[in-house]
């Protein structure tokens, strides 16, 4: 589905069913150099179990037009504008589900419109989400090498079962292909260097997480990867306390939506109940 947001076309996956704004809405927000397709299993489940689903391609990512936005805060504003354009208005009926960079965008959006967002699920998150200088530099100077580094640190196993989005997929290879596709995407305008460096930079620069948490009234779940080396579970203690969040730890690395889709679905169903 295409939605016009501030004169730019946003691409949104709706879970295999037409979007109905009268239903409780679940919004999926992807992480750095990803797109909506990291969420399709969860999105399909939600769409076929009584929810209106919006799995976004963020500006400049996937099939959404650019330019990319300069900060987590600006992207949160864009997200709220998209919800308004989609006719999502029922107070408390919106659940934001964000992965990694997307979790920060969800946090900031939940703080800006606490009446609208009833639930927030932050997947593979940390606050602050500092990115190592080595990774930032490599993302800037050698993004293909940085993709391989992120793969090595994000995926906890050489055998992720049952495979995402289905058996026979090699997660290291499919994640590399998706990131390379995003990096070369035609819509990634507005980046100072490249989309990878841009995404990591806005995560690194975002410092308002704990202040935002103080504004959040939504019921919050943190879904963390037991073996996550990108955003280790211990890096969420202050955030979890500030949000009074329920914390669930899943057998996964940082790529929870692909590594542990069944376990994440269980956590999401619990959050939605």
């Amino acid at each position: 589905m295409k939605i016009d947001v501030d004169g730019q076309t946003a691409h949104v996956y709706t879970g295999g069913k037409p979007f109905d704004p009268s239903l409780p809405c679940v919004v999926f927000i992807h992480g750095a150099l990803h797109d909506h397709s990291v969420w399709t299993l969860l999105a399909r489940w939600c769409a076929h179990h009584g929810h209106g689903v919006l799995a976004l391609d963020l500006p400049g990512h996937g099939q959404s037009a650019g330019p990319v936005l300069p900060s987590v805060e600006a992207t949160a504003d864009w997200l709220l504008a998209l919800l308004a354009a989609a006719g999502v208005r029922q107070p408390g009926q919106v659940t934001l589900v964000g992965h990694s960079m997307g979790s920060l965008i969800g946090l900031e959006a939940a703080a800006r419109q606490p009446a609208l967002v009833g639930r927030l699920v932050m997947v593979g998150t940390a606050c602050p989400m500092k990115v190592s200088e080595a990774l930032l530099t490599t993302a800037r100077d050698a993004p293909l090498k940085a993709i391989d580094m992120v793969n090595a640190f994000s995926i906890s196993s050489l055998a992720t079962k049952p495979g995402y989005p289905g058996p026979g997929m090699w997660l290291h290879g499919s994640n590399r292909a998706l990131m390379r596709r995003s990096l070369a995407g035609p819509n990634a305008t507005g980046c100072a260097v490249n989309l990878f460096h841009h995404d990591f930079s806005i995560c690194d620069a975002y410092t308002g997480g704990l202040q935002a948490a103080a504004q959040v009234t939504a019921r919050v779940t943190l879904a963390l990867g037991q073996f996550d080396q990108m955003t280790p579970p211990r890096a969420t203690r202050d955030l979890a306390a500030a949000l009074k969040a329920r914390v669930v730890t899943l057998p996964s690395g940082h790529s929870l939506p692909a590594e542990a889709p069944d376990e994440l679905l269980t956590a999401l169903r619990s959050a939605l109940s």
Binding site: H48, D148, A152, L158, P165, W170, G173, R181
Partner: protein, 432 residues
């Protein structure tokens, strides 16, 4: 942190896709000889069928043992995923049937395995898919043969029978300029020798019967997707970018940005045509792949010794191995195949068909049969077997002489192979 990356080839050959079995602790991959898999509940069943969850339902579509093999070959090729099939021919058919239908067209190298040529030139034509064959080295011919209804460019990494090296970077660039994918048959060049995706190919398939399994014990195929081709942006593949009534109105390119082809191939091609791989076969191919790096190094080492002997032998008029400067693909081989040009090649024996037959019958270690890529050395004389109905003129048009011999070099002691060939050449000489 800098420097960390995916594991190397030898590590992936042993570990990609497999972990100790969570139930039994078995370290080796178990063989799951089960047709179907129990649903946890009715809701679980429905969500599996509707692709709300990933998992196994029925072994024609997917199986835990077969999935390990699929992940492993995808890892070794540098791809996004793979599908195991009943044979290499089934893998080729699955690729074509996923991308093309009646009225569509393929541009293919003329230097193909006979079975592939038959499928394209005769069988698929009966189903409305036509093919234009072009000499693999004629770049202009590839470009000129593309039509609006073309859906695929296809060639073998090492063409049959002359081992023409496919110029993958150039042919893939031609394909991509026309918004088309390049499919290659990489059976003669397992990923230890060549990774076609690194050079621009979009889809790769193998007859796993050959070097991947490596022991001449199974028949199987593997189809691998790089995940790089943008099917939706191409505009030529509504099968992948528009709603499919045969699977809940699914738009495969929406479901998976990089796995759309494999989703459709599995959810339609395996489901409807049914040419799946047995879990037992998958296990045997896995056993082979675990030693692939060691075996390929030895295959190439032995082949070089045999090629060296034959290229200096008085009874041999030609040796067709791309590492030789005399081979038309020598320069391309140096660029694309630095680890070696595999272990299958042909040479021309001076003399008649009868001398060719005498040579074959004098061999003691080489087995006379119609296969390649075994750990044992193999030989065949096309003029008296696969092409015996052809007269000498027809053979010449096919690039085969009355004394052409094809060898597949195995893992025996190289000196024994050289001695066996020398002795048989002496017998052929005396038969004149």
């Amino acid at each position: 942190m800098a420097g960390y990356t995916d594991p190397g080839f030898d590590t992936l050959a042993l570990h990609a896709g497999a972990t100790p079995d969570p139930t039994t602790g078995a370290r080796a991959t178990p063989i799951h000889l089960s047709t179907s898999f129990v649903f946890q509940s009715s809701e679980h069943a429905a969500s599996l069928f509707n692709m709300e969850r990933s998992g196994h339902v029925y072994s024609r579509i997917s199986n835990p043992t077969t999935a390990v093999l699929e992940e492993r070959i995808a890892a070794l090729e540098g791809g996004a995923g793979a599908i195991a099939t009943a044979s290499g021919q089934a893998a080729l058919h699955l690729a074509v049937a996923t991308l093309a239908g009646a009225g569509h067209h393929i541009v293919a190298s003329s230097a193909l395995y006979g079975g592939s040529h038959n499928l394209l030139d005769y069988t698929l034509r009966r189903f409305g898919i036509s093919t234009t064959f072009v000499p693999p080295g004629d770049v202009d011919a590839w470009r000129a043969a593309i039509r609006p209804e073309t859906r695929l460019l296809f060639g073998e990494t090492l063409g049959n029978p002359g081992l023409d090296v496919l110029d993958i970077p150039t042919i893939s660039a031609i394909a991509h300029a026309a918004n088309l994918p390049l499919l290659v048959d990489s059976t003669f060049t397992p990923p230890w020798l060549l990774k076609p995706f690194d050079h621009g190919a979009d889809l790769v398939y193998h007859s796993a019967t050959k070097f991947l399994s490596g022991h001449g014990t199974v028949v199987g195929g593997l189809l691998v997707d790089s995940g790089a081709f943008d099917w939706a942006a191409s505009g030529r593949f509504p099968e992948l970018s528009e709603a499919y009534d045969g699977f809940h109105g699914m738009v495969f390119s929406e479901e998976s940005t990089v796995g759309a082809f494999l989703l459709r191939a599995r959810r339609e091609g395996l489901r409807d045509f049914g040419a799946c791989m047995s879990p037992h076969t998958a296990w045997l191919v896995l056993q082979g792949i675990e030693t692939l790096p060691l075996r390929m190094a030895r295959h190439v080492e032995n082949t070089r010794k045999v090629v060296d002997m034959l290229s200096r032998h008085a009874m041999v008029s030609r040796v067709g191995y791309p590492e030789l400067e005399s081979h038309p693909s020598h320069a391309l081989a140096k660029r694309l195949l630095p680890r070696g040009c595999g272990a299958v090649f042909s040479f021309d024996l001076k003399g008649s068909r009868a001398q060719g037959v005498a040579f074959i019958e004098a061999l003691k270690i080489f087995s006379h049969l119609a296969n390649v890529g075994d750990c044992r050395s193999l030989v065949i004389h096309p003029a008296s077997t696969t092409h015996f109905r052809m007269d000498d003129a027809a053979l010449a048009r096919a690039g085969i002489g009355p004394g052409t011999i094809r060898l597949s070099i195995g893992l025996e002691d190289a000196d024994d192979l050289v001695d066996d060939l020398k002795r048989a050449l002496k017998v052929a000489e005396k038969t004149a």
